[in-house]
């Protein structure tokens, strides 16, 4: 495990268009799309822990209560190079290739501060829940919001996606443009959705 913050260039060619352009957990069937569960070497567990601590906004004490150091996580290997990591059968976070670690949406609901947030307007909600990526105007319209310029996020940042008028996150995604560029360009996909309420990862409460 080298760099954990973004999908390293050397893997870019491996990201087939079909997996990149679709939402990861659409038509994901545990019975056929999970290839197996394996233990994780302790050195690898250490590096995962360090990666998460440096990338999520979380202190080590709080993370310790999510994943205590003395407990071993299980790697649930899935199709398309998706790795889900589970503790006592509960999925906690996941990764695509060697990309960033995303919390599951249920974990994010418990610890909403671990990722920076963006917000889509109400009109975008039903598209998001149908598996669409989020277009720039959904964030720049009156009901949406992005961080102010001084807290701008670069492209390829994992974000929690909130929705107009709602308290809890609806999805987790990754910015395709910097948040300042989303404001400027204001068209095309601004944030790719990696998991959302009601998708097949949401349904996978126990592995």
């Amino acid at each position: 495990m080298g760099r954990l913050s973004a999908i390293p260039l050397e893997y870019a060619h491996l990201r087939s268009p079909s997996t990149e352009s679709r939402v990861m957990f659409k038509k994901f069937q545990p019975s056929t799309d999970i290839s197996g569960q394996t233990a994780v070497k302790s050195s690898v567990q250490r590096s995962i822990r360090a990666g998460i601590l440096s990338n999520w906004k979380i202190d080590s004490d709080t993370f310790e209560s999510i994943w205590p150091k003395k407990e071993n996580i299980t790697l649930v290997k899935c199709r398309d190079h998706i790795s889900i990591y589970a503790l006592h059968g509960v999925p906690l976070f996941f990764q695509h290739f060697e990309g960033p670690f995303y919390p599951t949406l249920r974990l994010l609901h418990k610890y909403p501060f671990v990722l920076p947030t963006v917000r889509v307007d109400r009109g975008a909600i039903r598209f998001l829940l149908a598996g669409a990526h989020m277009m720039c105007p959904g964030f720049t319209s009156k009901g949406g919001s992005l961080p102010p310029a001084e807290e701008a996020l670069p492209a390829e940042t994992p974000v929690a996606i909130l929705a107009e008028g709602k308290e809890h996150a609806i999805a987790i995604g990754i910015t395709k443009l910097s948040t300042e560029d989303i404001k400027k360009v204001n068209k095309g996909v601004g944030v790719e959705v990696v998991t959302h309420l009601g998708d097949d990862l949401w349904a996978l409460q126990k592995v």
Binding site: Q37, I58, T62, E64, K110, E164, L197, G198, W202
Partner: protein, 196 residues
């Protein structure tokens, strides 16, 4: 992402306890986007009347529209009704599928004289696997547990070759083993793959 670390808190921050709808599994504020809104509303009204008022009172509905146009809101409501009808059709199909589900009783040879019996698919008939495993353990006075196969699906593994007896128990609907039509049960044999 910025790698800024917050100053280490001496205490772990407690997790937020988010309420999830028992009908559609979403936080109740999102039930309106699911496919079972009328059932969700019924549930919330019974279990959390205060939350029900918060989400579905006249003012709440007004406020909720937010920046959406009347047209969009109407579309949303139409979609919700359509989705609900679709979900009901799907539930019907699921019921049919259940009647077509298979229960597999596998006799597996582990060593020369050692067999285990794996029973797969009982959960499709709403049978509690843990209770069924316990029933087998008591009936055969042997080890019996719920384990995962490599696909991550649960199945019951009973020590010893008890496949015929298990078939009889399902036929006779012993204990929790109710509601599996005989035609849906299949007995198969799995030969040992590698020497041990």
């Amino acid at each position: 992402m910025s790698a800024e670390q917050e100053t280490a808190a001496p205490q772990p921050k407690p997790p937020l306890q988010v309420l999830y709808c028992e009908v559609c599994t979403f936080p109740p504020e999102y039930c309106e986007f699911g496919s079972s809104l009328s059932k969700c509303k019924e549930w919330l009204k019974d279990e959390y009347p205060d939350l029900y008022d918060r989400y579905y009172s006249e003012e709440a509905l007004q406020a909720k529209m937010g920046t959406m146009s009347m047209e969009q809101q109407t579309k949303l409501e139409q979609d919700a009704a359509k989705k609900e009808a679709k979900a009901e059709a799907k539930a019907d199909a699921a019921k049919k599928k259940k009647l077509a589900s298979q229960v597999l009783i596998k006799r597996i040879q582990r060593q020369k004289n050692k067999y285990v019996t794996a029973i797969h698919g009982l959960e499709a008939f709403d049978i509690d696997l843990k209770k069924a495993a316990k029933l087998f353990a008591q009936t055969f006075a042997t080890g019996s547990s719920v384990t995962k196969n490599p696909q991550g699906q649960d199945e019951i593994v009973v020590q010893g070759d008890v496949s015929d007896e298990v078939l009889d128990m399902i036929r006779e609907e012993k204990g929790v083993l109710k509601g599996v039509p005989e035609a849906n049960v299949e007995l198969i044999e799995e030969k040992k793959k590698k020497g041990s």
